[in-house]
Subunit: 263 residues, 6 copies
């Protein structure tokens, strides 16, 4: 039978831990490498509902993008959500693996998938941080081309491609042609997108001054939501694991959708 | 003739510098206390367009909420917006005063005004940081009551009262009754609103994990936009200055509106 | 039924968390305040054998002196003992409470008990850190009198009273009369014992230079072992809890003895 | 027409910013690269009198050795000299460039010029920090030979060559033969001069203990004044700029002399 | 016979260690409290020549203003002056006491003596740091009045009163009336003198920018030399000790004069 | 005549200072390189009794393993042992050289000697930190083989070989075959011994939790005492110096034995 250790080894090939940011916490965060695995639940976040879903379905492993433990913990009690999640997982013998910023940066990770979903052509890594052993660049942001079009049209394309309920944006006063993408909160990388010559940047969790900076710099800045820019990688993870481990059942969480609404 | 120093003294009474956060930079940031004043332009931000508007109108002073210099500067060149603004102001002899977190916290400041605009009753300071010399509490957040109503209805009220183009929110699963407000980016004060017993929190610049935290904590969290939650104080500033200095012309910037759009 | 929360409240009275050292981690470290309790296992350390003993006996709570989590943890896996202990406890629904340096310092804690066991008279706190609400001094070390006797004789008394297999010591060249005690590793408090006028100090985990310092300072220094100087408090904890909660079964760990041998 | 950017590029060749100390602030500190330039005022310091002199003469640029902004500034008001200078410059559209420790260290900078003025032969860099693209050493101090002579005679030579009103010195008990020079406050580099085998060190702003250190180390230490050891570079800067930009008028400040007097 | 401990106790009354700056090192730096004392050598600095003078004269104690050990030492070898001094002192059984910034600040210390020597009237402490048990203010600087006079005249007075070979100064453009004094390197306290309303400040080790700051602030700044502004306290120390311990011989060092010359 | 400098040069070849830990203080700590040497006293520690022994014997140099000055000192008085030792040495003109962690790590240093004394075969450096100019590995710990034997038997061997009065140990549940050694307090290197595949580790100053860690990790851990694991190097030092400098008398301290007793 496949083990948690086998899945971890596979994920470490897809998204090597050496590609993570220094402050991040990735890999096997709860459980045991020796644990046998027949069912894996994949989700963007290891929220309580996801842990319970895994328990009810009988999964021995959850694989998520965001880490269950981010700041090191001094206690594991039911006073907070992280404690309740760890208790549920340990009680049911469920392990938890996370691939976070290493998956953001990996050649075939979050941002590659986001670029593909937006149908960018000639996808490249912006400011590569290195090359992997297959000679592929890796790094945080991606950029690529679209047929030149007005911002209005591209907004519709993003909303449909990512399934967003709404978008927030500022116009940089230019048509859309060269697009940078960064799933999750990449607003502080705005200058990287500008320096790479992009006219448009799709990311999320944009703050007030970042919208104004974009306007001053003349770049279209689109906040498509943290969930909708990162969740596509969940499908990728599920597909990759299912392909590599055909005898294991892999399911994407049905409980975990975005909580954020627009009015 | 009234001077910049007179206006500064007046604003320091309205929003004493001692009420500012430790990291903030408030007061007279450009110009001269001795400068005579006949025209004052008031705006939320000291952006380039605002500085030019002041120059064209012939103002000797701009009063803003956000500080023109936040991180200390090592040069003043036209390579960046702060440098261009300082050059414009110095070239035209215009002074600049800012009242930022001291105005957020002041008894009659940003958050008091926001609470009033949302028609909260029985407005109180959450976690007062002190009392002023009139015995009034001061501190960052405010809270108050509304007639119990479904979240949906309150969303409409917020949108209309603040003139927002759109809202982002998460439901905490409760009707709206006791509301906390914090203009600008107060997402990290979420727990203060919860501990104060509020069922709803109106602020801006909310990040992904803060929406989820709100859902887990069972509190309605509404992101009404940084501009729309803070800009009401501009009217208050203009009115107060005009009342105190009847011989001075006070104008609210016509150039400065929100850059953020919804789609 | 009594709950973990009830026991925690009781222990916090016996050894208030405010008496702990700044770097320490005490209180409810694993589990749930709401957990019902019928059986409590008490031990010096929350080692794996102790957790298993609790599981086998059916305890819902373990109470220990040393904290299960000392350095905050970034993962909970079976790769290390702390992870295995947490997994065992969560799997069985067992909570864990620790009272560490707060119990060392409490008026009726580790060091008071150690002084009593050594039959010191006129027991006092050395360098009290405060007084509790009953007006009793609290602090780390205790001191008291014995009938003046040669060091050799006192060594035999310590060995027998604490049940040590062996002792390490250095002679300060004086008979034993005024004795300081500090359970566990208190070697760095040597000067406090000297300044308090003691001729003899009983503690553990003494390092080479501390033995030499004692000789130079003319104080008898006795290393009676970390386990044997602290374990007496386990009996005290068990008795106190049993008295306060007569309907709960309280057992002292039978698995946890000292691992250290002399040759 | 030449621009400020052209002059900056030229000065960056003469004294590359990469040669500056880590803590220093050099380059274009006020103004605009695009500014056209017909008149340049050169001075050791950008004091208020110098800025006014530039304004009266109609200069579009001042070039100084000491930086106008050293510690980053949080406000630009007429309460202090730096603020008044910036206001004057911005009001008149005058840019300000500074070449400080990069000019000290440059192959043809402050200390080279100082060594030449003292007629040292065989001038070398003490402890070179690198070589420039022409293969020339660069670094802080210079050393060279003079005809062996008594200290008394060399003092007269220094006073005359640099135009000092007075000198302060300590005798190291040796005749003058091998001389180290460091314009400005280089007293903390005393050991470098000693290790390089020099018998005499000419610099400025020497403190009490440095005079005693020199005596104990047996090296003649001469404080020839900060102004008089650095001001010679002003002539060099003026000459170099005038040669490179013949169509620009270059003037050395007539207002800026040393303020320090001897009695 | 009097002991080093007796002298230390006396000096600690004159200049309590609690009045020292946080970074300073004062008190008994070499030797033994139990050492009997018949001869004491007093000097501004514990230089090698002073230690040898003490040894030749047969002193058992040197008392100096500047500390023999300032930065803690990792070795005591003849490779440097501090090591050689300690070796000389230990070889001859000579103790060393220093009273540094505590003596600067003491009510009857360095700066009081300096003010008296300059014949200031109505001497007061600038910015007192506290009051001693006799109710006297203590702190770093002193100020007092002189008959209003031109700067030129006051310079002559200072030179004569302190026995300086030369002075360095900048004129603040005002006659001398209210004078601040700070023996040794007090240039960084310039603003304190200005805020206290003084028109003239006498201190030493002034740096280039401090002379310019004084000119800009309109205060006369006189550098009368570190030795000549502090050495007067040596006489005071010798007198005080001789008076308190009539049976002890007290001598002021004959070897220690200023090394600094003017040309 | 040989000098202290000659001995220092020789010892620096045996144990190069570059092999020391960053926090350590080694080399000539007291005295003079120029001092002539006819008698050298060698000891593990530079305690007061050792300094007096050197003085009485007429030695001009002591060579020790532990440094006389570890934390830099701010005074040299008879209030503490370090001060008294320095005074004794300086009074008698005795120099002091120490070779501490550089001697621990040297190819022929403390731990090599310890391994030889325990008759380990095939001695290797665990985790070498480098190779010296003879191509030999150097680093902290050593490991080697013994004939497989029960722990009990090996304990007897250690006790006899090192002359220990007693041992403290924990069993890892394995026979002894591959042994790691680290003289002095090397308990924090336990994982290095485990990772190198050793079943037994001989060191000293083991703390409570380290004994438990060893048991959990399944490695026999023997605390043979700081003195007894390091003192063998004293003989080595004496032999090496005597061989290299046949005209110098070298003596091992007769006063310095272990102060620690077992009961």
């Amino acid at each position: 039978m496949n083990t948690v250790g086998d899945i971890l080894t596979f994920l470490n090939t897809l998204a090597p831990p050496s590609m993570k940011m220094e402050w991040d916490n990735v890999g096997l965060l709860v459980g045991s490498r020796a644990q046998g695995v027949t069912k894996i639940l994949v989700a963007l976040d290891p929220f309580e509902a996801v842990c319970q879903e895994a328990a009810q379905w009988g999964a021995e492993l959850i694989v998520t993008h965001h880490p269950l433990i981010f700041r090191p913990v001094k206690s594991i009690t039911d006073d907070n959500e992280v404690g309740r999640c760890i208790q549920t997982l340990c009680a049911k013998g469920i392990s938890a693996i996370c691939a976070h910023t290493n998956l953001d940066c990996a050649p075939e990770g979050v941002n590659r998938r986001l670029a593909e979903l937006l149908e960018l052509s000639d996808i490249q890594v912006i400011n590569p941080l290195g090359t992997d052993d297959q000679g592929r660049d890796w790094g945080l942001l991606r950029m690529g081309q679209v047929q030149e079009q007005p911002l209005e049209g591209f907004l519709g394309h993003v909303k449909e491609a990512l399934g967003c309920e709404g978008l927030r944006y500022v116009s940089g006063g230019k048509p859309v042609c060269k697009v940078a993408v960064g799933g999750g909160a990449c607003g502080s990388e705005l200058m990287d997108a500008v320096k790479a010559g992009c006219d448009t940047f799709v990311t999320s969790d944009i703050k007030y001054n970042q919208f104004w900076d974009a306007q001053a710099l003349g770049i279209n800045l689109i906040d498509a939501g943290h969930f909708h820019t990162e969740n596509p990688v969940v499908t990728l993870l599920a597909e990759q694991i299912a392909t590599a481990f055909p005898e294991v059942q892999v399911m994407i969480s049905e409980k975990h959708t975005d909580c954020l609404k627009y009015y």
